[in-house]
């Protein structure tokens, strides 16, 4: 049986977890193709104007999958950490899909809700029961999936990006041989995973930076505990998990003298980012690090982004010269 997983939303965080689990239960996992213009446009056609870009892209990926698979994996990601949510659109996503797309294959649904508990097992058990009545097999698959996921997280924290980490996981070895990323200036790219790691949506932001010799790091290269420690400086516990990550990482990188600048990537009209982005940029202003705010939507043109990026990099490269000369300000 083929199960389809859209290459969208929290795919970039959780794909090893989902894939290992379903494969351990003997399913064939089909992932939608990387985002293209066609995928984006079919997503745009099936969603309202005011829906944000990541969700519209996710619709495109589901349409890409729906005729190629037997069942479609569409979990409701309510909460992935205690007393936190992701965003209202993640809560309503399965309902939006069911209303918006016709001719869907059977959906494999379950609520992932860690708002009040820490265990993933109830979620996996609800999923697994669609395919087998063997509880022990589900338990083993769940454990195996969490082991692989833990290794994936380790790789991310070593400085890998999701695609590289996934390749390293499936290649089995080779993770140690990777030489540490170098380059100058060092730039932290702060943005939701589905924006910065999707090359089509981010207009190759990460590889473009790497090609111009920049050493890129992201929020996902930091251990969870460190990110949370920084986010805990907020006057009130932030109830968006992705927002926690964005703020915690931004504030951490702001303190690091070896990080030369920060690029904040948000999608147009993103609700949580409108507030967390504001808090980040206010903190940046106080500390005076170079900061670029990129807003992406379906109309973003590559040339405009490239120009702004180049200007930003030029500014960072010239900064040390100005400061040595002493006539910078």
């Amino acid at each position: 049986m083929k199960i389809g997983i859209p290459r969208a939303l929290l795919y970039y965080y959780y794909i090893p977890l989902w894939r290992t689990f379903f494969e351990a239960l003997g399913l064939e996992v089909v992932i939608s193709r990387p985002t293209t213009k066609t995928i984006l446009e079919s997503g745009l056609r099936h969603t309202g104007d005011d829906v944000c870009l990541p969700v519209r892209v996710a619709f495109g990926h589901i349409i890409d999958l729906k005729d190629r698979v037997d069942v479609l994996f569409l979990p409701r990601l309510v909460s992935i950490a205690r007393r936190e949510y992701i965003c209202p659109k993640f809560l309503g996503f399965p309902d939006m899909v069911r209303q918006g797309i016709s001719g869907l294959p059977p959906l494999i649904e379950a609520d992932l809700n860690l708002y009040r508990r820490d265990s993933l097992y109830p979620f996996f058990s609800a999923l697994g029961r669609n395919f087998t009545s063997n509880r022990f097999a589900i338990y083993l698959a769940c454990r195996r999936a969490q082991q692989v996921q833990a290794r994936y997280i380790q790789l991310l924290e070593k400085g890998f990006f999701p695609e590289e980490a996934r390749a390293a996981l499936s290649g089995g070895t080779g993770e140690e041989q990777r030489e540490p990323a170098r380059g100058w200036p060092r730039v932290a790219v702060i943005g939701h995973p589905y924006n910065i790691y999707d090359p089509y949506i981010s207009m190759n932001l990460l590889s473009r930076l790497a090609r111009s010799g920049v050493h890129v790091c992201t929020a996902d290269n930091l251990p969870e505990a460190l990110v949370r420690e920084h986010a805990a400086r907020l006057p009130k516990h932030l109830f968006w998990s992705l927002g926690q990550r964005m703020i915690g990482a931004a504030w951490h990188y702001l303190q690091r003298p070896d990080v030369d600048g920060i690029i904040h990537v948000a999608s147009f009209a993103c609700g949580p980012d409108s507030l967390t982005g504001e808090l980040i940029s206010r903190e940046v202003k106080r500390r005076g690090k170079p900061f670029l705010n990129l807003t992406l939507d379906e109309h973003s043109a590559e040339a405009g982004v490239v120009t702004r990026l180049e200007a930003f990099l030029d500014m960072m490269r010239r900064r040390p010269l100005l400061q040595v000369g002493g006539n910078g300000r």
């Binding site: 009130k236 147009f268 949580p272 507030l275 808090l279 206010r282």
Partner: protein, 362 residues
């Protein structure tokens, strides 16, 4: 200590009644205006939702009148409102305002957190007095809501245009003027007489349910007096949220009987929206279903631009519209909205409803 709070429609009547009863020094911000919006939009994040911008404007205008403490509600997400107070406070601080911030919200660890905040605001009042004050405010909210409901009924039927609005304004003044819970029965009687004096004649009207995000529903400044405009077009309206219902649901946990509750709306939302999505998203969907079942002629959804829960609701409303056969109009408002555009859309919508029903309204 001079306490201020953000505007949301007629909420100030209920809040200042409550606080003044408890002897708190209250600064009601000037009524929300174009200036409020301009001030707020200038300093708020671009993609923040409209209520945040207006709150900010309210606080800046209240500061001009000497307010030094903000009293606000909070929340635990996922709607952005839960983080409003903190972001607004950060912006005000950077602008050089010196505000103390008191956020009333579900406590994270212990109920004491909430109680100590209430104590801080109310000072020396005993808990008994505090509860009496809250109930006094609630009763006023209920009276205002009843007035609004009567106005919704009267407006499309009034003989002389504008008579309802004049009566409503006078009645509202009576409610505002009440200083003590003991005065309320007398005021209620007076108000009934005022509203009863509006002359009406029976004529065919359309019935439209208004659903959506609470702030845009309750604040006439942002929805351009939608209910009044519809009333003049010959439409009787009902609204999915009234302030007193919200208070009953969220503060009194539904203890007051005989009021509509959000639970019914959430139940009615299935199978279109099976999970809460923060804000009033599920209530919006459920109320639209309920209005369709009750035979309303149409539904209007109101939301501020980028409102996340309402966008989810908006995505599932077309399914309800086609399955239950009820026209739905969605209106998004932000600081760029214009009144003329809204009027045109409303007229077209009302025309459509009237033809579907085969009646001629005003």
């Amino acid at each position: 200590m001079k306490v201020t709070f953000p505007h949301m429609g007629h909420m100030w009547i209920c809040l200042s009644a409550m606080l003044e009863y408890l002897g708190v020094n209250v600064v009601v911000p000037p009524p929300t205006s174009k200036r409020t919006l301009t001030l707020g939009a200038r300093h708020a994040p671009e993609f923040a939702c409209l209520p945040l911008k207006l709150n900010l404007g309210n606080f800046m205008e209240a500061a001009e009148q000497g307010a030094d403490t903000i009293l606000m509600a909070g929340g635990c997400g996922p709607c952005r409102f839960g983080y409003y107070a903190q972001v607004e406070h950060a912006i005000l601080e950077d602008l050089g305002y010196n505000y103390r911030l008191v956020v009333l919200e579900p406590p994270r660890k212990h109920i004491g957190e909430l109680l100590s905040k209430i104590k801080y605001i109310t000072g020396h009042s005993s808990w008994r007095e505090v509860i009496k004050g809250i109930y006094f405010g609630y009763q006023k909210a209920r009276m205002v809501d009843d007035l609004e409901k009567q106005a919704h009924f009267l407006r499309p039927r009034e003989v002389q245009r504008g008579s309802t609005d004049r009566a409503f304004k006078r009645a509202l003044q009576e409610v505002i003027a009440a200083r003590h819970p003991q005065d309320l029965p007398k005021v209620r009687e007076k108000v009934r007489r005022i509203m009863g004096a509006v002359a009406v004649k029976p004529r065919p009207v359309l019935r439209v349910g208004i659903v959506g995000e609470i702030f845009t529903l309750l604040e006439p400044f942002v929805n351009y007096d939608l209910e009044r405009k519809l009333g003049y077009l010959g439409v009787e309206t009902d609204r999915s949220i009234y302030l007193s219902e919200w208070i009953n649901d969220h503060l009194f946990l539904g203890l007051v009987r005989g009021q509509r509750s959000r639970k019914e709306a959430c139940r009615a939302a299935a199978p279109y929206l099976n999970h809460f999505v923060g804000g009033h998203g599920q209530e919006t969907v459920g109320s639209a279903v309920i209005y369709a079942r009750q035979g309303y002629d149409g539904v209007i959804q109101l939301l501020p631009f980028t409102c996340m829960p309402e966008i989810v609701a908006h995505s599932v409303l077309p399914g309800i519209s086609s399955e239950l056969g009820i026209p739905v109009l969605t209106i998004t408002v932000d600081e760029q909205s214009g009144e003329a555009g809204l009027v045109t859309r409303l007229e077209a919508f009302v025309d459509l409803l009237a033809r579907r029903k085969g009646v001629v309204v005003q």
